[in-house]
Amino acid sequence: NAGVTQTPKFRVLKTGQSMTLLCAQDMNHEYMYWYRQDPGMGLRLIHYSVGEGTTAKGEVPDGYNVSRLKKQNFLLGLESAAPSQTSVYFCASSRGTTSNQPQHFGDGTRLSIL
């Protein structure tokens, strides 16, 4: 039962470097989400997707880009990493948007920007 898998689990970057976080789900879910979690904060939505080929901005989208080329994958990119992007990143997916279709979360990626 893989569910939602995030790759990598940890990463350290230097300021200005770029990288892509991968989220893969094997539940055939339509909706996928990227959140960030900072100390003392709940999760905040970065971007989301309502289906293959679609993406939309969430609450804190600046400095990030996303792509959903395949239904099962949702990529989060940092083009030029900044120390303010040091955070734990969570991916989630759901079949729909009702309470009976809750979001399933990955285990998170801890990203440090030096």
Binding site: L43, L45, T98
Partner: protein, 116 residues
Amino acid sequence: AQTVTQSQPEMSVQEAETVTLSCTYDTSESDYYLFWYKQPPSRQMILVIRQEAYKQQNATENRFSVNFQKAAKSFSLKISDSQLGDAAMYFCAYRTPGGGADGLTFGKGTHLIIQP
């Protein structure tokens, strides 16, 4: 925009006792969903319980129950017979149904400590 407030950064309870975690939210919507998520040190986000705003009956899942007060926009979580494994961060979350697929709006969390 919706906001979710958890006014208790940290709570402590003796094992086997009952504890209540508070959550209030602000919305102009009449239909929405509310959730409590548990995040243990392993960092996983685990769904504990959910509530639909149109249902008057409070949701219950084993030792976990909620007190949903729609008029007061309050959604507290009660944990009965607290166990050591309940120690974690607890997040209250809100979302609107259907329409746009905006994600969950989370509170800042309550750190629950279980005293043996």
